[in-house]
Symmetry: D2
Subunit: 380 residues, 4 copies
């Protein structure tokens, strides 16, 4: 069982998410980094490659060059990990797909809806594999929550209350070089808080409940964002089933570090999960005491398919969530190579990515038009 | 310093809130119960009066009789405590005001807006004192939170996120005789969850921040309420200052007992408080560690004016909150008797009550008209 | 059903625990204060009595006078509530017992072991009722915990870990006039932290588990106590059953307000309770998720016999715990008056008090002799 | 900057801690696994090596063979990671030291005191580097806590309360093949709970406070351990400075997964940290509100020297703690190679390991001799 080979676009010295992707792949033990174009600044690219021990012959000046040249190698990369700023996701992903290379792309998939669906079509026509790294879907307790909801333990889902407040934008001191592009409209697209973090809520609720959004009503506000993008948003949703939802995102909510929290209420009980306490799940059922479930105690190992399974009470964190995603993705590639049937898909794919982009645009449109209901298109 | 005398309408054997009012007055040590009409069922009325040690001559068959006869006594009650079902608040309160007796009335003030303002006018014209028992305003840490916000420590308030989920309606077994009237439309008026608990949020946010509501947009849902009143509501608000708010109420949110939670975000920090952990306040300020403030430790006793001041770590609860309200109200009456100037008003009055009724109706109207913005009238 | 009458010794203006006792009796609705000797300083005595509305003819200069004169009245008090400094408990309690009056006495029962057993014998010979107010035994969730342990749900108890850290002594500013006597050796006896708060642990563990202490080993320390009494203590215990325990008390543990916490471990599960979150109980059983039980949700009302039963999520606090104790005590007196059989005793009595005093002395002796094991006498 | 090379002894298929060590090294990005003897069962050894992609020429049948042969290679490993059962630590570590290879050894260092000091002497005489992986010392917030204590913010440390309860031994179903050796006396030595988890407490307290243990008194119990080793222990300590400590370890405390908790109390404040909430630190100072410090928010990156620095609110867990240790160790090796001065040592070394072994034996001796004080030797 040989390791797969992968390359990375973006993620040079000083970046935040690139190293997380690499650490996550390391944790799976299933793939190794062999090629890259780590920065558009070639010196930084070279420096990063050196630190990562990449063979100079596989360090590329542009992502186009990388896609083309790798595609021609016999020992070409099995997939590329795209960790460039958001506005470049589309072009880079498109380039690798067109060169026949599987893609892992950081979220959001693209800035524009039409670009997202161009990638959807490209994936369909090429039959390649594509993962969008909605990180939090990788947490073991999210898998457990999905199992519980699917089993009917909490009955039929009737309403969802989800929030994702952060404070970093309020505190100017926390805006370092590595994150300053997050403030640029040209890099972030039409939305800041909904685009950057609201999309995580949408992907998680969709993954956990299979609810289909029917229409959306949103009130986006800009209190301090330098480019007048939303830094706070209140969103109300109706789903096809008649269930309703309330999402809140903020980048200026003092005291909140990365406080994603999901509460899903059914006719028989509820599920609650917090990203900053990821090893824990709260389960309530009518007429029973509140139950706290812990990773490694109330979960079996089949939920987690990274190489690493820590016993209960030994906290898994953000990188493990990423590793679980990568592990699922790599398993699919390995099975494909061996001609084996796919295991059940366990990661967000290009369609999930496109739905996320649509979600962001729909929220923005509703808010701009006075917080009216906007119908959400069917995506499948 | 003699104790004041008071009477009660409602609160007979088996009721929930009546005994809480009486216990609260006991805790203040400032007034004693001497008269009452505890039930429209006269046998239950008599039985209740006996248990409470009320002189039979001051046990009345109807509230009208009580208001009239008490008004004529030389040793008449100083105030009446009204704890009848909501739909009777208006008539009973009106009757006592018209007979020149100060009123404490459980919330909501009335079911209809016009009734509420009739009471407002009656209070103005009679110059009587009127308290609406929005309980949670009585908690010491709510007073502390108000002080902090007023001092400017968290800057200018920009958004408010408040929630009040309960589960009791989901669990049919928890609906006893004492609460079954809560399910009747004729007793509850146009709304269930917004009317019963949403009004608490409105009163608290108003008390803490002095924000004036400008317009409201709401999505009320009825999932299981037997009379098709709302059992879940998502509400978005704009305030005059440009700040925005998001309130959530639910009576069918499994796992939530009485989980009122307030988060108020300013330009320099934030305040967070939970009713089920009432002795605690979370304070965040930009660039500083999260701080936890505790009643009796980070509060001085001047915030609390009930007779009872427990040291830190000795939990005060729901009854103490009530007692603090009553204590403030009684202080005003005592000062009035002595011709002394009023201390700063520290309890919700008839205007607060009328604003609450307006809030409930505005939410219902918005939801019925498709979750559109409804302007909120100026109330002062 | 007429209210009982009671008197109080101690508890004058400015005191902490006296008003708590009175508020607790008020909450029960079952007795009224009619007599007292509130302070040895007669002016303060008079002033306190006036504020409390006591008839001047029943305000006494000394407790001896009060005991004697009340005993001779036809409408004499049914019981006395003793809230004087600890060193006076013995004399005052003895005096009332000798005059045939039932006693409620704040803890500790006495400072000396022989005095404690003199009271035990006096109670036996007079057949009077005697309650020592180990407050925390009054909490509803402590009753629930006792039920669970008794039912065998957590198996056979094997070890107990209990702690009661406070910080007040560390912070000189928190030592007001009302508490300064707590620093005096002549008032507090041989121990500070074990005597004042360790005794609570002993009473709770005994109430919950029925474990009998076999021998004790203790390491008391004095870091800042002005009279060189212990301000921190580590205690190891063996019980008759072979179970073991570890108790920790501190009055100088920064950050701890009144952080009593009990953890009781059995062969099949465990129970955990914290005084600052008194409405909650944590239950673990082998192979099951952690369960959180809440007052009013996982308890039936029969556990609580005060007059006031708040629904779930409406926090009960310190005063309610006291009220539950008083309510149980008064029920016993009422039944006795009516010649009815006693309901199951549900409060700490004079024997519990004597065992507590013995516990404190045993800890001190062990520590003074170099932390050696000291056998604990059988007490029953 | 080339990666270092390392080998591993133990850690074959199905093991718990071996893969954690490997994942941790991966996360540092600073070393790669090139050799190993993963199991004494050679088939399992081969299978493990294959999965890890080790060149067959560097897969060894015995650790002695590995130590000798690696020592002779030009491209020999820079260090060995020893993750065999505890009873083999000594021999394996000795063998590699004698062959001139730096060692990382899982804790405990050895089972016997004399063996531990033989390794101490060997390290001194060879001038090799030696790390004992007391994992928890690697957590960022432990480094932060050390900084705070060192700065004097909480004053002079006066007492320490530490606990490490687990439940796994109570629940027979949690004892899989991978952990069954933990129940064997021949593998675990003289102690189970103190040896396996108590030693972590000792190392952490020592790291954080620099307190030197003066004497120890312990009460070890065996309730269900199949080989009659302690499964619960209460330990009281005196330190040279006059400070005192109380440690509790248990492997049968229902509800506790891996609930290591440290509380350190000084004359001016206190520090509290819990392993299951590792990103958080609680700081109390006299007269100030309780403060909660978070990794990434109240810490600078210099505290963490692994390659991966996650922003606040993105939880780091157990593997990151390990990675931080390895990163510190590898930095020392790299500097040594380059002839650069050592950065400040930031990991537990052989002396820390020897002190830990001594601690375990001292606790056992005290308990066996009736819980008497046993003097603790000076170790430095």
């Amino acid at each position: 069982m040989k390791k797969l080979k992968y390359g990375q676009v973006g993620g040079g010295v000083g970046a935040f998410i690139g190293p997380v992707h690499r650490a996550a792949v390391s944790l799976t033990g299933k793939a190794e980094l062999v090629a890259g174009c780590f920065s558009s600044d070639h010196e930084r690219n070279i420096e990063s490659a050196k630190k990562l021990g990449i063979d100079p012959s596989r360090v590329y000046r542009t992502f186009e060059e990388m896609a083309e040249k790798e595609a021609k190698r016999e020992d070409k990369i099995d997939f590329v990990s795209i960790v460039v700023p958001n506005y470049l996701h589309f072009e880079v992903a498109k380039s690798f797909l067109e060169n026949g290379i599987n893609v892992v792309c950081d979220k959001p998939l693209t800035l524009e809806i039409k670009d997202a669906f161009e990638l959807v079509n490209l994936v369909k026509s090429t039959n390649l594999e594509f993962m969008v790294t909605y990180t939090y879907i990788g947490y073991s307790m999210i898998k457990k929550a999905k199992e519980i909801i699917k089993s009917g333990e909490i009955g039929k889902v009737k309403f969802v209350v989800a929030e994702y407040p952060q404070e970093w934008l309020l505190n100017k001191r926390t805006i370092g070089e590595g994150t300053s592009w997050r403030l640029k409209k040209e890099y972030m697209g039409v939305s800041s808080s909904v685009g950057d973090i609201g999309a995580h809520i949408e992907s998680l609720v969709s993954f956990l409940t299979d609810l289909k959004v029917k229409r959306i009503l949103a009130k986006l506000s800009c209190f301090i964002h330098p480019e007048k993008l939303d830094d706070n948003a209140f969103i109300i949703l109706e789903y096809d089933s008649g269930a309703v939802g309330n999402y809140w995102t903020s980048q200026i909510a003092s005291g909140n570090k990365n406080a994603l929290k999901l509460r899903i209420y059914g006719t028989e009980g509820s599920i609650e999960w917090e990203q900053e306490k990821p090893n824990r799940l709260i389960l309530n059922k009518i007429g029973e005491p509140t139950k706290i479930l812990f990773r490694g105690r109330e979960t079996s190992s089949k939920l987690i398919n990274s190489n690493l399974t820590l016993p209960m009470g030994h906290p898994e964190g953000f990188v493990e969530a990423f590793a679980n995603l990568y592990s699922s993705f790599i398993e699919v590639l390995l099975n494909k190579k061996l001609g084996k049937p796919h295991p059940e898909k366990n990661f967000p794919d290009v369609l999930d990515g496109a739905r996320g982009v649509t979600f962001v645009h729909t929220c923005v449109e509703s808010s701009q038009r006075g917080s009216i209901w906007i119908d959400f298109p069917k995506i499948d």
